[in-house]
């Protein structure tokens, strides 16, 4: 094959003189993690809120939440990224739009990416929360109301503690999806891990080495998160209430 292997390329200096290619890739991992964590925080807060709102029984709220969920689920994530990055500044009043466009490169891509990914993931979190809440026997809520707790108190002290423990496994996979989806931000200029692997490939022409390194790093992150979440689950597990059917397979990645 007309391909010359060169595993030592990782120790060559990167053109921007920030260090070796290896440190360049790990810098990308840093951006990936930052984007993933920021989006995840946004997704958890918003998603839990929406998931709870859908179970309150108010028909107007349900319709609104339904529209919100369907809107973000049926448009591909890549298209959503483009909308946030290219279209939003044009739709805002000129001053705000220009201010957004003048943001220096790392942040200009990071902010839309986090907003986009955060909202996209919040929808999936909302669905998990909703199904978690519906898995709790109705008696719990009724008992809470019967002893005089307000709706807010019932959720805060009775339902949510159980729900969070039940949905921990699917939430872990949602977090992993969120991390993987940060790679889409490369299309709007965020130099995260996959983007840097591609840049490395373009500068050095060592295709397989660059992508192999990125693959390995993603794999390691995956294993790390799974191990951590298993420890968390075993500490938080409620005896007698085995986690929401891990055998119930839903589509998606």
């Amino acid at each position: 094959m007309n391909y010359n292997w060169n595993w030592l390329v990782f120790f060559d200096l990167e053109p921007g003189a920030t260090g070796t290619y290896l440190s360049y890739l790990f810098g990308g991992l840093g951006w990936t993690v930052m984007a993933a964590l920021a989006s995840w925080i946004l997704a958890l807060s918003l998603g839990t809120l929406v998931g709870v709102l859908r179970t309150l029984g108010n028909p107007v709220l349900e319709k609104v939440c339904f529209v919100y969920v369907e809107l973000f689920r049926n448009v591909p994530l890549l298209v959503q990224m483009f909308l946030w990055y290219f279209v939003l500044p044009e739709l805002l009043p000129p001053q705000m739009g220009d201010a957004i466009k003048q943001m220096p490169p790392p942040w200009a891509s990071l902010v839309p990416a986090v907003l986009c990914l955060g909202l996209f993931t919040s929808v999936r979190v909302a669905e998990q929360v909703r199904s978690g809440l519906s898995a709790i026997p109705r008696g719990q809520k009724m008992a809470g109301m019967a002893i005089g707790l307000s709706t807010w108190q019932v959720y805060r002290y009775v339902l949510m503690p159980i729900v969070t423990r039940i949905i921990l496994p699917p939430l872990t996979s949602e977090f992993l999806n969120c991390t993987k989806n940060t790679s889409l931000a490369l299309t709007i200029g965020l130099m995260e891990l996959t983007a840097r692997a591609r840049a490395m490939q373009e500068f050095t022409f060592q295709v397989f080495e660059a992508f192999a390194a990125a693959t390995l790093i993603y794999f390691m992150v995956n294993i790390l998160v799974v191990l951590l979440s298993r420890r968390l689950e075993s500490r938080l597990r409620i005896p007698g209430l085995i986690g929401s059917d891990s055998s119930r397979i839903t589509a998606g990645h």
Binding site: P76, L77, T187, F211
Partner: protein, 230 residues
């Protein structure tokens, strides 16, 4: 709002968008989903078999695919497939692989991991009595699987399989990173050529929304109609 909209651009590029772009997306989705389900079912059977080696290979493959971002997998296959083709065809020359074939192989291989998990859940949801009855009647493994277990498994998991296919359709937009012309790629080309980003991206989002929403509504209706009461 300082932006002047020009929705004419959609009218002018309608044919290109749908004839070239959408057919690419839909064909890719159709072929990759069929291929993915077939390969996924194979992986699921391997995973559930009693031969340790098969089970481990299948588990390793699925875990690998599920831990990587799809963008990275697209890049991998785009650069890797011609070399593999050359090696397979034994003449040492990398064979030429067009964008469509590369995308097709990528998506089939990637989605197979997810279809595998779905089929595995489906196969496990068919009660063991069915398999036992099959063997009792004198059918061998292949016959039991193909005539008794798999049809029931597919019927049980049909809504989930279809939902995964809808997700596949959305994922085909990622061929943008290898500069292929699917529906999104076509919209981006027109947007760049005419400088009409807002109109084209909004239009693309709208089209995807309509297609996916209608499809998922249909799946929801299907789900309520075929659910088996146990």
């Amino acid at each position: 709002m300082g932006y002047e909209f020009d929705f004419d651009v959609i009218q002018r590029s309608w044919v290109y968008l749908f004839r070239d772009g959408m057919t690419f997306s839909l064909t890719l989705t159709a072929l990759a989903s069929v291929g993915g389900v077939l390969f996924g079912t194979l992986l699921a059977l391997m995973r559930l078999s009693s031969i340790k080696a098969l089970s481990m290979i299948s588990a390793a493959y699925v875990n690998l695919m599920r831990s990587l971002p799809l963008v990275l997998v697209v890049f991998w296959f785009f650069f890797l497939v011609p070399y593999i083709g050359g090696w397979l065809s034994g003449d040492g020359k990398p064979i030429k692989v067009g964008a469509f074939s590369s995308a097709l192989i990528t998506f089939t291989m990637f989605e197979a991991a997810f279809y595998c998990e779905i089929m595995r859940a489906g196969i496990q949801s068919v009660s063991r009595g069915q398999t036992s009855a099959g063997y009792a009647l004198g059918l061998n493994y292949r016959q039991t699987m193909s005539f008794i277990v798999l049809p029931q498994a597919i019927r049980n998991m049909l809504p989930v399989l279809l939902t995964q296919t809808i997700i596949l359709f959305q994922d085909t937009s990622l061929v943008y990173v290898i500069s292929s012309t699917d529906f999104l790629g076509a919209a981006v080309k027109v947007a760049n050529r005419d400088g009409r980003l807002v109109e084209m991206y909004t239009f693309a989002a709208l089209v995807y929304f309509v297609i996916c929403f209608t499809a998922s509504m249909y799946v929801r209706r299907l789900q309520s109609r075929i659910s088996i009461i146990r």
